[in-house]
């Protein structure tokens, strides 16, 4: 069977199962509308560590432990770890992975890392190169701010279109066998750059990439947006979501009723986060703690998660370059809903 559909979409013959997912978030995310769905919300962003980077690493390791515990598996049952994050040289993921004696792929897709990892895990399983993969990612508000922008306590005014880097970590466990929602298709994104230069305006930079991946996916599969219960973008925020809808409307695709954005649903409107959430954790924690359980209990039958990443660095911004962006899409379906509401069953 040919596993390629159209130009950019792949179909998974063995339909890897997502048998477990876990998410830990920061204090602000814990107070948001999805607060109760997360496995844990930190009380403070240092998490009893000396630095924010160490806090991010500690939270990531703990989340992988939690994921394994929920699936009732030990690390030696895992064939691959696939991880990435925002810090230079993806140190959070690399350092977190040293705790586990599991073969490891370090990846970087900025805020699209969660879905990039899930696609790679699904390919490995579908290709028969492993039985179980864990993919994980994380971001930390203070850690990201000081790397990409200015010191946290520096008093510059944030424009209202700027997004808030989410603190948190999300992980999913994909397996050849088991119970849970299944990964059926994926559309791997192209790097797209329409000349947005403002590093505070990630939503605008990433919207064309999301539009491109969604259009390509619909073309490849011959579906319409209405064939999905939800098309959910990673972190376009208010501005990027608006632009995405406009870009698609020009191509006669109407997203109005079936689109949402992880960056918009992670926070309340009174939490002062500008145009919404962003960061690797944004798509990761919403997918792991909110979307997957709802797929599992049958609320959703088929969703298309499109995680978006702005592939800039502080250096390229200083040198006046525009922001290349990417969006990876993955289709997750529920084939046999188990109706335990809000309770994710991970029995093998």
């Amino acid at each position: 069977m040919n596993k390629v559909v159209g130009n950019q979409t792949i179909k998974f013959e063995r339909k890897p199962k997502i048998i477990s997912s876990a998410a830990i978030v920061g204090p602000k995310e814990g107070e948001g509308p999805l607060g109760e769905y997360f496995d844990k919300a930190l009380q403070d962003s240092y998490y009893q560590e000396q630095t924010w980077e160490k806090a991010e690493r500690k939270m990531t390791q703990e989340n992988i432990d939690l994921l394994l515990q929920k699936a009732n598996l030990s690390p030696d049952k895992i064939d691959y770890l696939i991880g990435g994050d925002l810090l230079n040289q993806t140190v959070t993921s690399n350092f977190a992975a040293r705790k586990f004696a599991v073969p490891y792929f370090g990846i970087y897709g900025a805020c699209s890392t969660m879905v990039e990892g899930m696609i790679l895990g699904a390919i490995l399983i579908d290709g028969g190169y492993g039985y179980r993969t864990i993919n994980f990612t994380s971001s930390h508000y203070q850690g990201a701010e000081r790397q990409y922008r200015t010191p946290n306590e520096y008093g510059d005014k944030y424009p209202s279109y700027k997004q808030w880097t989410a603190t948190g970590t999300g992980a999913t466990l994909l397996a050849k066998d088991g119970q849970g929602p299944v990964v059926t298709e994926a559309t791997v994104g192209k790097v797209i750059d329409l000349g947005v230069k403002d590093p505070k305006d990630m939503g605008s930079a990433m919207a064309p990439a999301a539009a491109d991946t969604i259009l390509q996916h619909l073309n490849d599969t011959g579906r319409t947006p209405q064939d999905y219960d939800l098309i959910v973008t990673g972190d376009l925020g208010e501005v990027g979501s608006k632009l995405l809808k406009e870009l698609l409307a020009e191509k006669n695709i109407n997203l109005q009723d079936c689109h949402d954005d992880c960056g918009k649903i992670l926070y309340n409107s009174d939490q002062d986060v500008g145009a919404g959430g962003s960061g690797c954790a944004c798509a990761a924690v919403v997918t792991a703690a909110y979307l997957l359980p709802y797929l599992n209990n049958g609320e959703f039958k088929r969703i298309f998660v499109v995680a978006t990443g702005a592939l800039l660095s502080p250096l390229t911004s200083l040198q006046g370059e525009s922001i290349p962006s990417i969006a990876h899409g993955i289709v997750i379906e529920n084939e046999s809903p188990n109706n335990a509401i809000g309770n994710f069953s991970y029995e093998e």
Binding site: P151, K157, D201
Partner: protein, 148 residues
């Protein structure tokens, strides 16, 4: 083949329209009011000092030092950047803003060590002000030397 075939110029127009419209008038007013309030505090300190019998040219520098202390303190307890979200230029321009620009990186980079962290990066925000301040002073000095 890309699905989105727009030129950067066409897209820039869309982006401009999609941005929320921040009221410039509101920004001006809040910067004026909060920046003005900071100056009022400075005036009060100067008045208290002169009332204590200090000459105006002695009270001035003492007032500046006090304002730098207040700016540093408010940065340290994590309040200054919150006020700045309303004040904008109103908190950046006064001397308290300069204190914030020095204290905030000092706090931030302490976790990278006292020498190459705090010591080296303390001026990462205020550095340009110092560099070009000194350069301007040099140029003005030369002009004075030649023409006056």
């Amino acid at each position: 083949m890309p699905q989105i075939n727009k030129t950067p110029n066409e897209y820039q127009k869309m982006v401009k329209n999609a941005h929320p419209s921040d009221s410039k008038v509101k920004n001006f007013i809040s910067a004026y009011v909060i920046g003005g309030l900071i100056c009022v505090v400075g005036e009060i300190i100067t008045n208290i000092l002169t009332a204590q019998g200090l000459a105006l040219n002695e009270a001035g520098p003492l007032m500046s030092v006090s304002m730098i202390f207040i700016g540093g303190l408010l940065t340290g307890i994590g309040v200054y950047d919150e006020i700045a979200q309303y004040a904008g230029a109103g908190t950046i321009v006064p001397i308290t803003g300069f204190a914030n620009a020095i204290v905030s990186p000092a706090m931030e980079y302490k976790q990278d060590g006292y020498i190459l962290g705090l010591g080296a990066k303390m001026y990462s925000v205020a550095g340009p002000v110092l560099t070009y301040g000194m350069l301007s002073a040099f140029i003005v000095g030369i002009i004075k030397l030649i023409f006056i």
